[in-house]
Amino acid sequence: MSDLDPKDELITHLPALRAFALSLTRNRATADDMMQDTVLKAWTNMEKFQPGTNMRAWLFTILRNNFYTSRRKLNREVADVDNVFSESLSVKPDHDGRLQMHDFKRAFDQLPDEHREALILVGANGFSYEDAGKMCGVATGTIKSRVNRARNKLAEMLKLNDDEALELTDSATMAVVGNRGIPS
């Protein structure tokens, strides 16, 4: 449990909240609008946050609910995607790994919203399937299924099921992300 004042703690989660908003909307302007709305709602309803619970999960839940409510109102997927992932390639070593990471981002961009969301929550943020399910308002099994389908789709798009391709991709990605424990 954090000793911080909840409003001070909220500030510490803003970078992750923005990354989550970008991953959902794939559009900077939309992400910033979603984030602004989320911060305003959280700040003015801070008494509803239960101390001792996960504030990041609470903030992510507010944001994703805003996102899906907006999407329903528009009755379509958010179309004004500006490929924030695939265009966010920042300064990285200029070698084969650059292309591999770019490919990964482009593939990730193409996943359905619910699959991107599930992967970001579980794969990137380390939320348990159970917690991610609660955040998304679905059963734990549904989140597991979404994560598995998203991984399978990425593996298919990136041809990771080809042993040789995975070997090559591993070495290229290792060069980008550093030695962070990809099993050999």
Partner: protein, 54 residues
């Protein structure tokens, strides 16, 4: 989390998750948009004003 999978599937899942973490971390390092910084300033000021008027 991936212990019940076959080794290859676990390896692919690990590869994907490592890439995701890298991408997410990159997005986290973006500068905070000015509209959020401005909003926080307004909210802080409102809180301060509220305390002073009590």
């Amino acid at each position: 989390m991936t212990s019940d999978k076959d080794p290859k599937e676990a390896r692919i899942a690990e590869f994907i998750d490592q890439n995701l973490k890298s991408v997410f971390s990159e997005l986290e390092s973006d500068d905070m948009p000015s509209q959020i910084v401005d909003l926080l300033s307004v909210l802080r000021a409102q809180d301060k004003q509220g305390k002073e008027t009590k």
